[in-house]
Symmetry: D2
């Protein structure tokens, strides 16, 4: 039996996920799209052959012939949409972050658990072939005990000023660092217990005016005493740069690279290649694979790969690391609940 | 208006192209599958939601509501299927090679031209992002005048003995070299005029019994006097290895690489990574893109990217290079028509 | 006129520098070796054709026909040997670190300045072709304003327990981090003003017994507000791993790599290469070049490339970062003078 | 007992080898330099501390206190100098090629064998760490049976027109190909039995006027039936490009790379690094190591690594491959003696 699925939020990222829902998932029937902007929803529905369009997602949730929803709305609406979807008995795939606050995460988790539905959060790196291979090698013991975690997350462009505000994105550390904090927990198989951040607005002074920074380094301490560091930058103007290292007692792993296509141009005393333009290009297969995993989990009634409690833990690290930046001191995760 | 398209041949490669027809091409309606083995066709049709199945492709060609066909039948049937499809007024996408003989190529081209339909041949590297980027750089003049062409085509496994026979595949040089000979013409923007081959059966003695070899090097001379070399091997047991270099008067290009996923495992005095498992993994996006290009050419009535005359020229190089191997002398393309 | 030069300390590193003094420096006459162990000194002198050997370096310093000394004694003797050499009017090249304490650094600097001799400290990365190229590109403005500094320093082996003690090496952060802190100042063209360290003893429990750790991450804050991170590990069992990144407003630089010789071994689904065995292999040319630079500076009476004040600043960062580890808080450089 | 050694020929390459003789070889006493141009010899002798200088090498050979000579004279003088040195009972290190003709090779070999002296020929790649590692892996069986040999030899500049003449260098194929033909024999552990060349003058028309070409590909057939290809170019304007592959039945090897220093510059959509400027930079350690090996072989009375018969075999391949180019047909090595 196929999973009847609908999309809530037909913006840029919504359109990407919608494409995968429409074309890559044999086990899903993509039946409806909801978006307050009817042009977004209608255009996408026509292009992808989706039958129904709604400007009010609540109306769509009322349909009994709907099994699951994919939520790609602005972050500050995640909790209320999740609550509504859970109350309607729909399984939920939501884009990350679950919420910017721990209170929001807790409300979402409570709603989902009360309704007995599944919720997967869109930390898509769990479905990237490279990160999956790394995770498998760690689990096989190829590097022994992981003792240091290093991760780089750098964007080639400045985000919009509106998005950069703390209330919208959580700021550089919570926003861009979320994927790295997620990797830290997943790959190290451990919890972060203390963080310390250094960060500044160095390249885009306009970010400072909205309270954000553009470069940061965050030290991590894990429960099992391993250490780590995440660096984040908005000015990797060379290209999208996502790399992770796990140093183990018996070997190490490096995940990621800088090159998009395998072409070298050789000119006098210069060999050059391209870079990765952005996260869509880097993680194209992962976006399809995370939806496939969600649909499969729903269809076969199995646990999802990244659930609400995972997402809450990621938010907690981001909140703590941001507080560290604000207060100029190491912050224990236990301080923030 | 969408292009109504059908598949002829539902084997392994047919299934791959069928998947792209079903899921990746908004401008195509995938309406039917023909295969003499009804299980192949039916299974694929059900999986992909294709309405009609035929065991006799001729019957399918009789449908008036069909615009185009994708031919993925055994090579020795290409000409007759193309003739039938052309006679039925259908546009044609055919897997490479067009035919193993120049006579076969000529018959197919004549049928297509008489019927006034389009025919694209499946030299999919024209649609690989890396080779496309290289071609664009050459056309922009980034490397000046191309003066040397080098290409490597190596498979990680031995082909079946049945397929290896000259009458089925054309033998190692014509079969595996076809893509390299195609690249030679396309990237150098020139015609090959003379070839010389060295080759032997060195690793798989059973190939010798069916008249084939497993390793070869083929020197090329171009009309504009540029030189080239293609090396072919069936025992690249490390992985699928496809690389090309174009040396120019003002720079050079290298296309291709050995790594599938960007993961390094670091062990004592050893850094290792994976390899590319096979052509499906390496050229996954190219297979989708070539079909998209064909459907677009049909829908918009524009020329196809790789036509019958291109395919004939590739066959001619393969025939000449194989004759060179047999006769132990350089062979001019002009000798073989 | 050649510089008449002598070596003080004929241990393993002393022997390496001695080889360069004997064979690579046309402008130097290598005239004497002093070492309390007469076997060390005599063996080396015979092998390299050095005329005089001393068990007491003070005696050697009394020679009037000696222009300069190269000090490769245990760190805790650096200050007294420097004071003696300066008092004798000899120019000084000393291995890093200058001293483990700021007081020691100050005494050494005072002695040198009072005597009016030159002193160069052995931060040899300033003379490595890769780091030199990076520095030049930064100075040319190729990456705009440097805003983030990242550096990795990892050894493939555990140091001796005796050396690991704080009183002998300064501990992991001060000892192994010294080169990275030196790079931080040099490449960023700025001073570190605040540090925060996380570190643990995770792989070699015996290190804990002598008060040391084996893995650490150190966040840096610079005077111009740039940020940075240094990671250090004693269990890079794969090989010596020294890499540095400088992220700038208009580009970035990566220095360093993992491969010693350009040889790839390709086996089924596995491409592998070797690693760099240790610092001697990685920085072989730099050790020769730093001595050449010192001899040239003496011969031509020009300033040395890395002087006592540079070395003091590096010690200060190490002391602050170690205090941060001990006290679990960010430490300002201004706190420690 | 040290080997008393002298240099014959103090040009550019002679000066390079002289530097190694003077500074890197503890077992050699560098006692004299001969060069018809007294300025060359005197300048070099003063710089390196060599006691005696001769304008007539015959006079130098008359010294009884001389054990060996290093011959770095123009190729067309090699045979006569070798004959004189052998007649004087001196061991001989000669730059490659031994001679441009087989007759010349035979005369030199006969003189050496008659005199009972040792002769090593300067195919220095045998002493390059990367090629040595590859050879060792092949000998250990890491790649099973070698079945294909591929080698690239490309210079970043056009040679002088005078040198390009057949009578001076042997032309592109014999001259630049010599190192690749040497590698072919050494790494494959086999003899080349047939060659076929394609080549043209495509970039530097002035080379055509002196009878030379600038790009060539040479197919190889080995006695054990393995196949191979060498490509040669004078217009690798990007940098010195020396790479070799050996494809085996159970694995493969790639030797060589394009990068001189491990520095990446990252600019918008572009990652670039430097290239290798020339053979001196690429093979610096090999030049020192080959002389060390020669001196050791003399001192310990052991066979040299690359002798006259090896060098003759390399010349034979070059002669055959050049004849193939001239006559437009495959040429058997047996044809040319």
């Amino acid at each position: 039996m196929n999973v009847r699925i609908a999309l809530i939020g037909a913006g840029r990222m919504g359109a990407t996920l919608a494409h995968h829902l429409a074309f890559s998932l044999e086990m899903a029937d993509f039946v409806a799209i909801a978006d307050p902007n009817p042009e977004n929803a209608t255009g996408l529905a026509q292009k992808l052959g989706v039958a129904a369009v709604y400007s009010d997602y609540q109306e769509m949730l009322a349909r009994s012939d709907l099994d699951a929803v994919v939520i790609v709305t602005p972050t500050n609406t995640h909790v209320e949409v999740i609550q509504a979807a859970a109350a309607a008995g729909k399984h939920i795939f939501t884009e990350k972050p679950l919420a910017l606050t721990l209170a929001g995460c807790d409300e979402a988790i409570a709603a989902v658990e009360a309704a007995g539905v599944k919720m997967q959060v869109g930390f898509m790196r769990h479905f990237d072939p490279a990160y999956m291979a790394a995770k498998q090698k760690i689990d096989e013991g190829a590097i022994g005990r992981p003792v240091m975690f290093k991760s780089t997350g750098r964007d080639p462009w400045r985000t919009s000023l509106e998005y950069a505000r703390r209330e919208n994105s959580g700021g550089l550390i919570a926003d861009m660092g979320a994927h790295d904090f997620d990797l830290a927990r997943w790959l190290m198989g451990d919890e972060v217990v203390r963080v310390y951040s250094e960060g500044e607005c160095l390249v885009f002074p306009e970010l400072k005016e909205v309270g954000d920074i553009d470069n940061a380094v965050v030290n991590l301490k894990f429960a099992n005493e391993a250490v780590g560091n995440v660096d984040l930058s908005r000015n990797a103007i060379y290209g999208y740069d996502i790399r992770t290292e796990i140093i183990g007692s018996e070997g190490s792993l490096m995940v990621g690279g800088l090159q998009q296509t395998p072409v070298l141009l050789l000119k006098p005393n210069n060999v050059s290649h391209d870079t990765i333009p952005g996260f869509m290009a880097r993680f194209a297969t992962a976006y399809a694979a995370e939806l496939r995993a969600f649909v499969t989990a729903v269809a076969e009634d199995r646990p999802v790969a990244v659930d609400g409690r995972d997402a809450r833990a990621v938010t907690a690290i981001g909140v703590a690391a941001t507080r560290s930046l604000d207060e100029g001191r190491p912050v224990w995760l236990s301080e923030i609940g």
